[in-house]
Amino acid sequence: MPELSLQQSLNLALQHTCEDDDRVLIFGQDVGTLGGVFRVTDGLRDKFGEHRVFDTPLAESAIMGMAVGLAMHGWRPVPEIQFDGFSYPAIDQIVNQVARMHYRSRGVLNMPITLRLPSFGGIRAPEHHGESLEALFAHVPGLKVVSPSTPSQGYHLLRQAIADPDPVIFMEPKSRYWQRESFDPTEPVAPIPPGTSRVVREGRHATLIAWGAMVARCEQVAELAAEDGVELEVVDLRWLKPIDVDGLAASVAKTRRAVVVHEAPLTAGLGAEVSALVTERCFGDLRAPVQRVTGFDVPYPSGELEDEYLPSIDRILIAVQTALEYRRG
């Protein structure tokens, strides 16, 4: 069984998808000759030709606008925007066009666009290279949003996203690109449809809910907590829109406590949605308010301050403790 990094598994998913579906087009800044700044598209141009895998000029809005036009002509575009923070110039196209063209045309024009977006922080990169935009995307009707936490999840979710008939924002946790896992991507698996989450570790005292790179961090926390006899369930939310509210409710009905963890700033982050949903569904079960451990309400900082910004193991543990010790009124 091959050992693959997330970067390799995504590369393989793109390769296999291109082999299976000759309407798939891959494009973006530096995705062709260079194979992407993270090498996720490495070798694809040579395999599939420069008509199917190509570089674009440096303009994110046109990249997404071009995807709309290509989709209208029956292609299945898989554009890349090079870094999270540079999707802002394309937000108008994403919100006002990509997400609405199917609706606007009353279902006539399909938009099977998968936007690959290297996302989140943790790699001590320059400004605008560590942003978390999931709350923005999840708020937009017509979009689906997904983020893988492991190489095998990456492989299968990317294939699922590209196969999806609707636009999907595929948020790749760049701090996990080089993380490795042994799995056989050719082995058939059940589909991972939008709106399904994944219990990564079972537990009964509280549920940790996370996505992207924070899943691994929560697993570490669960490991540490287990040493003290605290059994934490870890849920990889994975699909950030639609959210698997049934899955979350099932876990919290059991554990009666939940902590949601993300990198984005606290205020109006997706943690608020998770908190509201879980509370709406599990109010009677909950023994404590859902805790949020998130980035702070500050711009994503420079590398030296990054570890202070990101949810730390200690901050998550404190939140777990708060939830466990909570007494009503």
């Binding site: 008509h51 071009m66 036009g69 290509l70 209208m72 009353r106 017509g142 509210v245």
Partner: protein, 323 residues
Amino acid sequence: MDVADLKALHRLMLVARRLDEEAIALQRQGVLPAYAPAKGQEAAQVGSAAALDLSRDFAFPGYRDLGAAVAMGVDLVSYLATHLNIWHGGLYDPQASRLAPFNAVVGGPVTHAVGWAMGAKLDETGGAAISYFGDGSSSQGDVHEAMNFAGVYRLPVVFFCQNNGWAISVPTDQQVAGGSVAARAAGYGFEGHRVDGNDVSAVFEATRAALDRARDGGGPTVIEAMTYRMGPHSTSDDPGRYRTLEDEQAWTERDPLAAAAKQLPADEVAASEEHVANVVREVREGLLALQAPPAEELFSFVYREPTKALLEQQRAWKESLDA
């Protein structure tokens, strides 16, 4: 149409004009909540759209392109349904009509034409895209990005700018630095032409030439059709606040419809008027008969299949109706 057939072009312009008048009347009667008049721009819209080969080309309109819809044979009740507040994109089938949905984002759809043109090139259909936008829209970053992409890939696309002198209250000289949208083309390494946008044959010829060049791999073209928005920006606009009657008067003398009619025998024009009156009556009746969409449609078309969350919201909404 193979060559500029003035009689046919005139008749299409007449449909656009009379329908525009009808729409304004319907707005005054409270049938249409609002409307964006196209009066004065019929030659630009009809002349360019008539040059398309509907078996393979595709047009990307804005919100003031009734004449293009007329020339393309789009179902006009479905087209005007957007102004009836029935559906934002219109009710026509964009794929069958070769006309993208009504689009109210100034600049945004121009990049779609470029993407579509690339799709056509990759599929080797010989199809070309035409993108409609205004002098005001030319200021948007998206228009630049679109032109640059089209130039880099040499795509079969025509950037058709209707320079009607105004973007709501802002005149072209305070909008377009340098004064000419066509002149921008040189900076992207492709052709740009100004045409008299009130001369329907000239517009037809220029567009046909640009489409042919596009098909032959000659790359994109900017056509800047110099015209004038004779009416208000929309039925809630008051042009008296920003332009003079003399200004408007000067352009009345250059009315594109009158200019075309002058070149035709009077009896042909009269026959067309008669024909058009029938068309307009039918559209009017169609509009008056058009039903509002069933309220359930609020939840339709967001995705190919509704999500569980949406179904749940729909259920709650239905319950609230019974409350």
